[in-house]
């Protein structure tokens, strides 16, 4: 029985030492590989990745929505791994690069899967705050684009959250001013009962816009009196990035004519504003809360 006891002790030693000894002999030329296999070394050197190295998402474009209240930022990201990545969320703040003023918060529109080695577009939507709109009006009047920084960026990829303190510069279209047309001229008809208002509009999008209809009221700036109703003369197509003239026509009501005589006797021009604007663009109806000052001739 003693022999059997010795045999079991030997068996214990052989089963534990044997494989280790075998591996040591197999890797005797490169003992490091016994603990750090070539795959791990490749990982450390980065050659495991299909594209070489991990790069941060590249900024592609910033497009405002039709009402100019949100801006859609598009980034391009190449997945360097041989593994599909799921970008579950992106969260960031957008800051005016000149004043450091926080303009709004941006977040990923929808989780995006990026196949191994593929490049995908990440769509992030940023909503301007009311303070941002005021900031645009007060600090950047006349500007159509503003230099901004994406800050406090947090990306969740496959439940790994990467938070960066770096600033990613982007150029964003200014809220409010991008979609609304600029006033060009107002011309009365011979009888003085209608006025033709010409507006200039630059299409900031990378697709054509079809302005189907415009409906608005014209109000006396001084008295708030509704002078008439304006509507688009004819549907107007504006090519991507092009500037076109949009013509609307306003018929003065009898009450408006009376108002001109009673309240603006002798005046040839009247400070008015276009209110209750409703624009139908590419089938989408936009109601604009703001009032647009115009200068109309009266007779």
């Amino acid at each position: 029985m003693r022999v059997l006891g010795v045999f079991f002790v030997l068996l214990n030693v052989i089963t534990l030492v044997g494989p280790v000894l075998g591996v040591v002999l197999a890797y005797q030329d490169n003992l490091k590989a016994m603990v750090i296999p070539p795959q791990v070394e490749n990982m450390m050197s980065g050659s495991l990745f299909t594209g070489g190295k991990v790069e941060l998402p590249r900024f592609v474009s910033a497009t405002p929505d039709l009402a100019g209240r949100t801006v859609t930022l598009v980034f391009e990201f190449t997945n360097p791994f041989n593994y599909d990545l799921m970008v579950k969320s992106i969260s960031a703040d957008v800051e005016c690069s000149l004043h450091g003023f926080t303009l709004g918060h941006a977040s990923l529109v929808q989780p995006t899967n990026i196949s191994a080695g593929a490049t995908a577009k990440l769509t992030i939507r940023c909503e301007w705050t009311e303070e941002a709109e005021n900031h645009f009006q007060t600090e950047h009047p006349g500007a159509t684009n503003i230099d901004a920084n994406v800050v406090r960026l947090a990306i969740n990829v496959n439940d790994i959250t990467i938070e960066s303190d770096e600033k990613y510069p982007i150029s964003v279209p200014k809220a409010g001013s991008t979609v609304l047309p600029q006033f060009v001229s107002a011309t009365p008809d011979v009888a003085g009962r209608t006025v033709t208002i010409v507006l200039s509009y630059t299409n900031p999008f990378d697709y054509d816009l079809m302005i189907d209809s415009i409906s608005a009221d014209i109000e006396c700036s001084l008295h708030g009196f509704t002078l008439g109703h304006a509507s688009l003369v004819q549907p107007t197509n504006i090519a991507a990035g092009a500037t076109a003239e949009v013509v609307i026509q306003c018929d003065w009501t009898q009450a408006a004519v009376d108002h001109f005589h009673a309240e603006h006797t002798g005046a040839t021009r009247l400070a008015a504003k276009v209110v209750n604007i409703e624009i139908k663009v590419n089938g989408v109806t936009i109601q604009v809360d703001q009032a647009y000052p115009i200068d109309v001739p009266i007779s």
Partner: protein, 204 residues
């Protein structure tokens, strides 16, 4: 003639053999970083890792796993042979060799896991849970100033519980060994003095 088996030992031996097979497919303990971005399948019998789609094993760990497999297999076979022939002269040696194997594996495995997680915590300030999920922040020296939060989930898998059951059955088999009737030690023989005392009364 009635044959006595050590049923606990038999079940323990069978459980060890089953455990060896299943451990190649299901780990005892699994660690997942993120949503499967990094996975570690760990057991004393087979260990492998997955890093963003690349599976690999570490040769030294593979050798230690192979040693464990051989040792466990020998222990399982010893338990099975012992359990069928618990009354044989060699059976005690077989039992002594076999019953400790799963117990030692389970204990060593848990101790190594605890020590490793504590070491990682101490060296890299990275909290790795033994069971459950935790969000840990990678050391900034590794991330070049970027804050990287990782969701780490770890859990014991069912083969670990099978291993504890196997260990329990083997220990039960060890205790049951003393209660098997045919191998219970015979009552001590009466001493010659006592025999003499008994003889006269017997004659009377």
């Amino acid at each position: 003639m009635r044959r006595d088996f050590n049923w606990f030992g038999l079940a323990g031996g069978a459980a060890i053999i089953c455990l060896i097979f299943v451990s190649f497919f299901v780990p005892w303990w699994q660690l997942v970083v993120g949503d499967g971005l990094v996975t570690a399948n760990v057991s004393p019998l087979y260990t492998d890792f997955n890093f963003v789609g690349y599976w690999f094993t570490i040769p030294l760990l593979w050798a230690l796993n192979l040693g464990s497999v051989l040792s466990m297999a020998a222990g399982g076979v010893a338990m099975l042979i012992y359990s069928i022939y618990p009354g044989k002269s060699f059976s005690k040696n077989l039992l002594g060799f076999g019953y400790k194997k799963p117990l030692i594996s389970v204990l060593l495995f848990v101790i190594i896991l605890v020590v490793l997680t504590q070491m990682i915590q101490a060296l890299f300030s990275l909290s790795v849970p033994l069971v459950g999920s935790a969000t840990s922040v990678l050391p900034e020296t590794m991330t070049y100033g970027t804050i990287v939060r990782v969701l780490i989930s770890a859990n014991f898998q069912w083969p670990f519980y099978l291993a504890t059951v196997a260990a329990g059955l083997c220990i039960a088999g060890k205790f049951y060994h003393k209660k098997i009737p045919n191998i219970s030690p015979p009552p001590p023989a009466p001493s010659p003095a006592k025999a003499k005392e008994v003889t006269p009364s017997a004659q009377e």
